[in-house]
Symmetry: C2
Subunit: 200 residues, 2 copies
Amino acid sequence: MANGNIVPLTELIAQFERLPGIGKKTAQRLAFSILEQPPERAEKFAEALVNARRKIHFCKVCQSLTDMDVCSICGDSERDRSVICVVEDPKDVMAFERTREYGGTYHVLHGVISPLDGVGPDQLRIKELMARLGSGEVTEIIMATNPTVEGEATASYLSRLIKPMGIKVTRLAYGIPVGGDLEYADEFTLARALEGRNEI
Amino acid sequence: MANGNIVPLTELIAQFERLPGIGKKTAQRLAFSILEQPPERAEKFAEALVNARRKIHFCKVCQSLTDMDVCSICGDSERDRSVICVVEDPKDVMAFERTREYGGTYHVLHGVISPLDGVGPDQLRIKELMARLGSGEVTEIIMATNPTVEGEATASYLSRLIKPMGIKVTRLAYGIPVGGDLEYADEFTLARALEGRNEI
């Protein structure tokens, strides 16, 4: 009723509302913005949605996202294939790439071991990681799962699996965030920062 | 580069980023949420976008949005056609409808007179409003433009145009918002609330 029974509008608002973090008011605002734009804009948006969903799949090597057979990182001969950075999510790959500091490759687990959510090792891309270690080319695995209980548990599970193969397993450093304020750092972070202190 | 050169993903993020109030990070989050859903979801979303934009246009009577010839409010014989509530935007119609208190009709101006933005009376749906007043059926016009300088100017411009036709022109009451805190009310609102005080 509030939309004056305009079914296509109600439907568009509902679609926006299904997106994560988008509430009723924002969904309405976004839907109206589409109506205010030329029809070509809506068509291009629609095309981008369908295209992205259809063309993007997992890289058959690292399990990150790609629209090719093998992603641009795995396919780049300049990248150091002896190091694999293991992350939970394709978004984490992008976060590392933004640093422009890492020249190795990645492996995306697509989650973490979480018995409470019914996620065991078999639901993650661990088999695919193990397959990559067989060639003997890899010398270091950087565990870059999130600093949560599940992230830690997954990192140590993998570590126990990989170390016996004679491959070095490392973990990201804990510490205070750059630009952060000590006053607001939680006690666990601060304790880890103290523990991991370096000589200057 | 940060997206690993996945063109369809970059394009989808760009489309989300073009929406009002959606920044780079949110656009990325929304695009990823599409990739995590089954393809049918993306297709339904795409369809809703194109459908809404194609099927929704202005009601030929009140200039609000509709997917029919005449909107559901103008077409409703139960609504009181002797009162027209004049608003700036179709969103305002929905705001009034949510109150469930108003039984008259609407007229959407699609903006306000704003010389600085190059918007004069000719750019608004004023001609269409005047055409509705010719029949003699209308006895009251409620000016419900926003309480801004431009909204006020537009209301008084229209009032000068309509009053000579013997039609009553009213303006929404100013006052403190329901549930608001006096402490935070600005001095203009408070002065108007005082001015418009009612006996209890």
